[in-house]
Amino acid sequence: MENINAKYVSQKISKTRWRLVSHASLQQPDVFATGSWDNEVNKISFWSIGNHGSSDMDDGFEGDPQLLCEHKHDGDVLDLQFLDQDRIVTTSSTGAVTIFRLHQNSQTISVAQRWPRAHGFPCENAPCTGVVCSSPEIVTVGEDGKIIVFRADQEGVIRVIENADSSTIHAVTYLRTTEILTVNSIGQLKLWDFRQQSNAPSQILSLSGDRVPLHCVDRHPNQQHIVATGGQDGMLCVWDVRQGSTPFSLMEAHSAEMWEVRFHPTNPDHLFTCSEDGSLLHWETSTSSDMPSFLQGGRNNSMISRSAMAPAGGNQSLINAWLSGDSSKGRLETTHMLPSQTLSVNSLDVLGQCLVCGTDGEAIFVNRQVPV
């Protein structure tokens, strides 16, 4: 916690995302984008933390994020994602989907493309709640229950799945290049296969108990069948979409809505969640031949359950550590990453050793030495 810097930015942050770095270089990320919400004039902004490969970062003030440029945004920024190095896609509470381009030389932002009423109801606006992209394809979902597919350089809409859901779809993620996964406010995960022409999901998964709305979803970077979701009651669920229609493990993570869950992209034994209750948790599990982890199918009430044994080195189990094993000893460690008593943490992103998150207390926290 000593390495975390807070910067107050006079706007409530709804989303933060690191700019992509090429996998070849071992550089740490240096630029991130934020979107604001609930302001009279909302903005998207780009910030730099000046991390140009220098290894000794013991001076905390050096790492203060500096504003590179910003641009007005119509409506709350509900989701934001980098399309490539220079372009980001944002979705708005007015139902619009916009692509912004960052001009590196002049440090300005311009609107590259816009679909003003992508999502909408007949008589009023429908907020567009989530976006995921794999250039040049962009998929968005919204409160009108539609799934829309765009292409970055084409004017119109490629495909619309009307009435994909009778309730609000909160988040979307890619499962495979042609399959996406959505979560909605009656607690269901739905798989959609774009190769099929029908407008019905290919699979529906849900919890057997209460229909708690799910707010966020993320897929394991290496193993495409493992998905983590977070919901209104703050429970973290890990699902295996190949097997069965119920989650593999449920963990009590937070005491209020979980807004974002992210696997670490290169080190997927680490998972990060942030919530309305103002905390950001770092989950760490370890693979070992003992088939570690938490109780099967049940609820793990303890937040920190670390086995006393040191992990045996050597052979890695094929069963992923996030799914349950038979061992009753938990090997899951959780740490709080923020000083206590912040307002809701709305968003987080992690890349390499850097973590950035934004809160309703109008502050951005950057941690450049996340232990992964």
């Binding site: 006079s10 007949p122 429908a126 009435n163 009778s166 209460d210 809701s344």
Partner: protein, 638 residues
């Protein structure tokens, strides 16, 4: 009504026409003003249809000042959770450190405002920011003094040292000038040289002054300073100081510094000569600097209770006979008199934002320095100020979330204020509604939860998002609304013949139990599924139970009986004799009801024909089924 403390300021509304009478309405943080139709004697022109919003507090809309509100909110919440059972010495240190936190936040804001004010090209912005900087300077000055006098509550001896620090902090230009002088080629010839030396002496920074000038070294080096941590008592220090003071006076009388006018001046200052001090008004620049310097060189063992006497006289001496004390001077004077309530009152009048008085009063209240001063409407001063501040925050489109924590820590009225305000937050997106609901949930405000969920559910229903509407009614545990939604589904089914939103109905889960109608919907859908899977026996049982257990609404019974027709007409007997009897009973009940109601309501003859045909068909099928069932059950298996 009490009398007014100051004359109210007049604000002109430029867009309103001359001579028109204006009407107004109070809002939580602003006033709405409109033109009325009443014509005064010289009113001209037609009416204007605008409504003007007059806002007193513009600060919450300033982007840089917003950081002040957010950071101080963090400190405020931390302060409220300080444990009561700590020993008082530890608590005092904590309070002092919290006070310093607040002040550092103010300073950070000030620096940023200053940077922008200097670098901007627009004159209007520069003046506005410049004003904000000077207000923040004054606020920090007052807060610092309150910290020294009230929170830190230094006793005699250390009191003066703290006051010296206070003055030094707020007169930073001496160091700049000193730097300039030292960097010049020959410092001793620089025109500001003696000003710097004298300023150092006036601030009691004798080490620096010594380094600037060697001759007066001995006198300066031997001035005793009180050491609070040491084992020297106040009286010992007093004796030492008097020795030194006598030595200084002797030097003056001996004319040892007659050759150098500057040194003589410095010596006179060391002796505490008021006239010499007053000659250096520009170097002192403020009366409180004059006060502290005077005390340093004439009464270093001043007690807190004696301060106000010196303060008043210094103020009078420093100001010219023509100039009038400014509001800031009166506030500082009240602080020196240890009249906390006067300080708070004057600050409330002088500033346009409740931020400063609310936070300072809260901190002082935690230090138990405010007497319980009950105001007319029952709450105490701290709560009143916090409520005013938080209500102002609530009108802001974004800062309303901070206000919630402030209301939480107002024990008497906070909850009521929050209940009234939280329902008025505009809800554009589901995400915002969820955040507001979480706030209400955490504080057991179930009325507000129900009302917000109902608003969201109605909106969803209007846009035909039945799943969303259902999830909102589940959140509010609103059985009535769930019934409404189920009615919609059933209506859709009746008109279209198929169900919409099957993904929702098929996966209701335990939510089905929320309302009877919803249960019926789920079970009816299950019946359809069973029929589709050709599990006729189970389907029949389910259908019957829907009617006999009275889960189905009476209006739907006809549809259910019609659904039973294909089952009755199967070759195989599905309904047993008993079941058929029950069906017939239901049919009779239904027809008798219909006959009774048919007398009242007019129906077209076509409708009546259809009804009669249906009933006849049903009766026929039931009779046939009964016959077959009796035969089947009566047959002895061979």
């Amino acid at each position: 009504m009490e009398e007014v403390d100051v004359e109210p300021t007049v604000t002109n509304i430029p867009a309103a026409s001359d001579g028109k009478h204006l009407g107004f309405a109070w809002g939580p943080g602003d006033i709405l003003v409109y033109e009325t139709l009443y014509k005064g004697s010289d009113a001209k022109g037609s009416g204007c249809s605008f409504i003007h919003e007059v806002r007193k507090d513009e600060d919450i809309y300033s982007p840089i000042l917003r950081k002040l509100f957010n950071e101080s909110h963090h400190i405020f919440v931390g302060l409220q959770t300080i444990r009561e059972d700590l020993p008082s010495k530890n608590k005092k240190n904590q309070f002092v450190s919290i006070s310093k936190n607040y002040r550092s936040v103010i300073r950070a804001c000030m620096e940023e405002l200053q940077q922008v004010a200097v670098s901007t090209k627009e004159a209007a912005v520069a003046t506005q920011y410049g004003n904000q900087v000077s207000i923040l300077l004054a606020i920090e000055l007052i807060w610092n003094l309150c910290e020294v006098l009230f929170i830190d509550a230094a006793p005699a001896g250390s009191l003066l040292l703290h006051l010296l620090d206070w003055v030094r902090l707020h007169k930073a230009d001496v160091d700049e000038k000193a730097r300039e002088v030292l960097q010049s080629e020959s410092p001793a010839e620089h025109r500001d040289y003696w000003d710097v030396v004298v300023s150092y002496v006036l601030q009691g920074r004798l080490e620096e002054a010594r380094s600037m000038y060697k001759l007066i070294d001995t006198l300066l080096s031997r001035m005793p300073f009180y050491n609070p941590g040491g084992n020297q008592t106040l009286t010992e220090f007093d004796v030492k100081w008097r020795h030194w003071h006598d030595e200084v006076n002797r030097c003056l009388q001996d004319n040892s510094f007659a050759s150098n006018r500057h040194l003589e001046i410095i010596c006179k200052i060391l002796a505490g000569d008021e006239d010499t001090l007053l000659e250096h008004k520009e170097l002192l620049s403020t009366w409180y600097h004059f006060l502290v310097t005077r005390l340093l060189f004439s009464h270093p063992t001043v007690k807190p209770t004696e301060l106000h006497y010196y303060a008043q006289s210094c103020l009078t001496m420093f100001l010219d006979s023509r100039s009038v004390p400014e509001p800031l001077d009166n506030i500082l004077l009240a602080a020196f008199e240890f009249d906390i309530h006067q300080v708070i009152k004057d600050c409330s009048i002088a500033l346009n934002n409740w931020w400063f008085v609310a936070h300072l009063t809260d901190l002082l209240d935690h230090c138990k320095l405010l007497q319980s001063h009950n105001l007319h409407f029952g709450s105490n001063l701290r709560e009143f100020l916090l409520l005013e501040y938080a209500s102002g925050l609530f009108t802001h489109h974004s800062l309303w979330q901070l206000a919630v924590d402030y209301f939480d820590h107002c024990p008497e009225f906070g909850h009521v204020y929050l209940e009234l305000q939280i329902e008025r937050v505009p809800l554009d997106t589901e995400r915002k509604a969820l955040k507001v609901l979480r706030i209400c949930d955490q504080r057991q405000m179930s009325e507000q939860v129900r009302s917000i969920c109902k608003i969201m559910a109605m909106r969803a229903l209007r846009n035909n998002r039945l799943g969303s509407a259902l999830s909102w009614s589940i959140r509010a545990k609103d059985a009535a609304f769930a019934t409404l939604i189920s009615e919609r589904f059933l209506q859709d089914y009746c008109t279209r013949g198929t169900f919409s939103d099957l993904d929702l109905i098929d996966n209701l889960g335990p939510a089905m139990l929320l309302s009877d109608r919803l249960t019926f919907l789920g079970k009816y859908r299950e019946f359809h599924k069973l029929y589709g899977e050709k599990r006729f026996g189970e389907a029949a049982k389910l259908l019957l139970s829907l009617m006999t257990a009275k889960i189905a609404p009476r209006s739907f019974w006809m549809t259910l009986l019609t659904d039973a027709l294909p089952l009755l007409e199967q070759k195989e007997v599905i309904f047993s004799a008993d079941q058929t009897h029950e069906l017939m009973f239901c049919l009779e009940e239904l027809t008798s009801c219909l006959n009774a109601s048919a007398l009242g309501s007019p129906k077209t003859s076509q409708d009546e024909d259809i009804e009669l045909t249906k009933v006849e068909l049903l009766r026929l099928s039931l009779a046939r089924n009964l016959a077959m069932a009796i035969i089947k059950e009566g047959t002895v298996e061979a």
